[in-house]
Symmetry: C2
Subunit: 95 residues, 2 copies
Amino acid sequence: MFKELDPVLHSQLRLAIVSLLISLQEAEFTYLKEKTKATSGNLSVQLDKLKTEGYIEVNKTFRNNYPLTVCKITKKGIDAFDQYVKDLKAYINPS
Amino acid sequence: MFKELDPVLHSQLRLAIVSLLISLQEAEFTYLKEKTKATSGNLSVQLDKLKTEGYIEVNKTFRNNYPLTVCKITKKGIDAFDQYVKDLKAYINPS
DNA sequence: TAAACTTGTTTATTTTATAAACTACTTTAT
DNA sequence: ATAAAGTAGTTTATAAAATAAACAAGTTTA
């Protein structure tokens, strides 16, 4: 009846990050920070977790002399998100 | 853009409990335990939290000499659930 | 060249969830 | 009658997660 919800996505911030990346394909650290209202530290940790899980790719470069971190959703991330949404529906609309 | 998700409901077990109670009005401890696959300890703790928050009512009696705990959803619980679902949709289908 | 700002990371603290151990009784078998 | 096993939970201890605070490594501006 209740499928285990992917613990990687069952986190407010990580879900928001993946949600954004799903529609944008990729986004910068500062953009994600602004949109999610997360603190830098928290965002850094959660991005790292998503990367470790293979849900996103993280590219670090420089732009105008400043570090620039760009995040991109992966196939695995998209699939996990789809599955999460599917599983959630069983909670929201129990059959 | 991303509304804060009610932390009381953003827990797999508590969401499952409330989800069940929404459709059943009320349920016994053992029933909830079986349906959610939770351990007794975890279920006990989470029910207490939901009760403290006023999302459910808990009635303790006896049946056939054994303790019997019956849980019932409250108006507040129903409203919180509806709001949670609404908020979640912003994550699932960002606009 | 010092002060303030950018873009993050790391470490420490708090909160939350889960598991293990325990309570208090009841039933069944000996 | 009493020991062993079962019911229905609660409490306490541990593990995991989220968050906040402190730090790093530079850049820009006054």
